[in-house]
């Protein structure tokens, strides 16, 4: 692991052109991937891709935020900022996974939920809240991995899980550093300073009890060796899915609740 990088330098790596997205990872980690479209209420959001596949031969459900690799892809997936129908598709597939006793694997990679009129009209807040609440009691194992950016409630909607892993340079934050600087200091140009004090790195997440594992990236970042980073992710997933599937489901749910229940710092 590279320990000498600032949070801001890591964010630059995450934004590097060529940083792998879930579309790059799926064929190297899974087999028999079949994508499933639509939330059955309104439409199909291209910022979230869902489907079923095999991991080590066993069926799993994949729910992933997807960034574009170029401008055209980014226009299509709205820069990985999901609409409510994206979250509702995710929930539909999660419930399907529960029904068929398949573990769920979530890949988080979003600057945040889409902020726009369409999202508000269709209940962005309700969609995120519903996912958070339903994932908490979903009776099948859930593993989440932050691939790049995990921004705000838009990330947490895929982040209620039994264990969370961070890629080494990935970040998880309450709001983007730019948003943080503009809200707290009324000066968006102080985003570098914000990024470095917000505590958003993989190590920060482990220390704060938000993540359990950091997945090592190849030297210089994930884009330098796609095969290696895919292998690291697969190794982690194989281990964790096997481990969680062997647990009693009620014990698993109790542990999932407790994982989030204990986060918070206060005195009385």
């Amino acid at each position: 692991m590279e320990n000498n990088k600032t949070a801001w330098e890591r964010l630059a790596l995450v934004h590097t052109k060529g940083r792998p997205t879930i579309r790059d990872y799926i064929p190297l980690i899974f087999t028999d991937f079949y994508e499933m479209h639509g939330d059955r209420y309104y439409g199909d959001d291209h910022a979230v891709i869902c489907g079923i596949a095999r991991l080590d031969g066993k069926p799993v459900t994949i729910i992933a935020q997807v960034k574009g690799r170029d401008l055209n892809e980014n226009k299509d997936c709205n820069f990985a900022m999901p609409l409510p129908e994206g979250y509702r598709k995710a929930l539909r597939l999660a419930k399907q996974a529960e029904k068929f006793h398949r573990p769920v694997i979530c890949f988080i990679d979003t600057p945040g939920a889409y902020a726009g009129m369409a999202a508000e009209e269709r209940g962005q807040g309700e969609a995120i809240a519903k996912n958070i609440a339903e994932f908490m009691t979903l009776r099948t194992p859930i593993i989440s991995i932050v691939l790049g950016e995990g921004g705000s409630g838009g990330a947490l909607a895929l982040g209620v899980c039994d264990e969370l892993a961070m890629l080494e340079n990935a970040q998880y934050s309450v709001v983007s550093p730019r948003g943080f600087a503009s809200i707290l200091w009324k000066d968006a140009s102080r985003e570098e300073e914000a990024c470095n004090i917000m505590q958003v790195t993989a190590d920060d997440m482990v220390r704060l009890g938000v993540a359990e594992t950091v997945i090592e990236e190849p030297l210089g970042g994930a884009h330098n060796d796609l095969d290696k980073i895919s292998e690291n992710i697969k190794e982690y997933l194989s281990l964790k899915i096997e481990e969680k599937c062997q647990k009693d489901i009620d014990e698993l749910l109790k542990a999932r609740y407790t994982k989030f229940r204990k986060i918070g710092e206060f005195t009385e």
Binding site: A113, A115, G116, M117, A119, E120, E121, R122, G123, Q124, G125, E126, I128, A129, K130, I132, A133, E134, M136, T137, S152, G153, L156, A157, G159, V160, Y172, S173, V174, V175, F180, I183, L184, I197, M198, Q199, V200, D204, M205, L208, V210, Y257, F260, R261, I263, G264, E265, F266, T267, E268
Partner: protein
């Protein structure tokens, strides 16, 4: 009960920030002004457009619950500084001084026309009622208490969203509170949300949107993303009534819009219809 309310109002006004600037209240919705005394008499409702203004938690308690019935939970809980954000502890100390609050929510049990409920009231004077460790923990404990004691929950929400100064820890409070709501719901508990001005951000995207019954006060703001954020980043012009209670009801996210003067009776009737004996109130 109303006498009580006015006493509290008078007292609170001395400490309120934005409203002491002049002898009259300027409505943020219709821009009309109304003398303060008149505004108080109207329970802080704009006479011109029916906008339901912000109340302190104390005002809300005396207006809604049976006199003397409120028993507070966790009254001494205060937040730490999880990410070591500059001047966060100092800012909190100052707010505790000026508002008399320990953080942005008061929780406890209270009676509504004789019916016991677990209640939470957010107070926007404290850091725009943003949700950090204390708000998250108090709400979670309130729901856990309600689940254990088979009580309904009423939450009066108001919030600017997550408490930025607590970083990722504040984001996780969304999961913590929503998890407690879910367990209460799965156990058959009734949860009534009363959305008050403004309910936004991470609070909208967690426990505020999870009520079995979602009530809103007239003309209040409800949303996930802020209006200015949407206008500036998306370059969209937004309609006048965008994100107001009436707009959100039309879009399907609010069960009923209830005026402040009818809130107590409405809550009492709804609670009664969810108790096994089905007594009438």
């Amino acid at each position: 009960m109303f006498e009580d309310f006015f006493k509290v109002v008078k007292h609170r006004f001395n400490g309120a920030e934005e409203e002491v600037s002049g002898p009259s209240f300027k409505c943020p919705r219709c821009q009309s002004t109304v003398p303060f005394e008149r505004y108080e008499e109207l329970l802080k409702v704009c006479p011109a457009c029916n906008y339901h203004g912000r109340l302190s938690a104390k005002e809300r308690i005396s207006l809604t619950f049976d006199k003397g019935s409120f028993e507070e939970f966790d009254s001494n809980m205060i937040s730490c500084d999880p990410i070591g954000f500059p001047e966060y502890p100092e800012k909190q100390a100052e707010l505790r001084e000026t508002t008399g609050l320990k953080d942005a929510i008061i929780t406890g049990t209270a009676l509504v026309k004789g019916q016991r409920a677990v209640v939470g009231i957010m107070d926007s004077r404290y850091m725009m009622a943003s949700m950090g460790s204390v708000v998250g923990e108090k709400i979670t404990r309130a729901f856990e208490y309600a689940t254990e004691n088979k009580l309904p929950v009423i939450m009066f929400t108001a919030s600017g969203g997550a408490r930025m100064q607590e970083g990722i820890v504040s984001l996780m409070q969304m999961a913590k509170t929503s998890g407690a709501v879910k367990l209460h719901s799965d156990n058959g508990g009734l949860y009534i949300t009363v959305l008050t001005d403004p309910t936004t951000g991470g609070v909208t995207a967690s426990f505020a949107s999870l009520g079995d019954i979602i009530i809103a006060e007239p003309k209040i703001l409800i949303g996930f993303a802020g209006r200015r954020v949407i206008e500036s980043t998306m370059k969209q012009r937004l309609p006048e009534d965008f994100q107001l209670a009436e707009f959100m009801q039309e879009k399907g996210f609010v069960d009923m819009i209830v005026e402040r003067k009818k809130m107590r009776t409405t809550l009492a009737k709804l609670l009664a219809m969810h108790t096994p004996e089905e007594k009438e109130v």
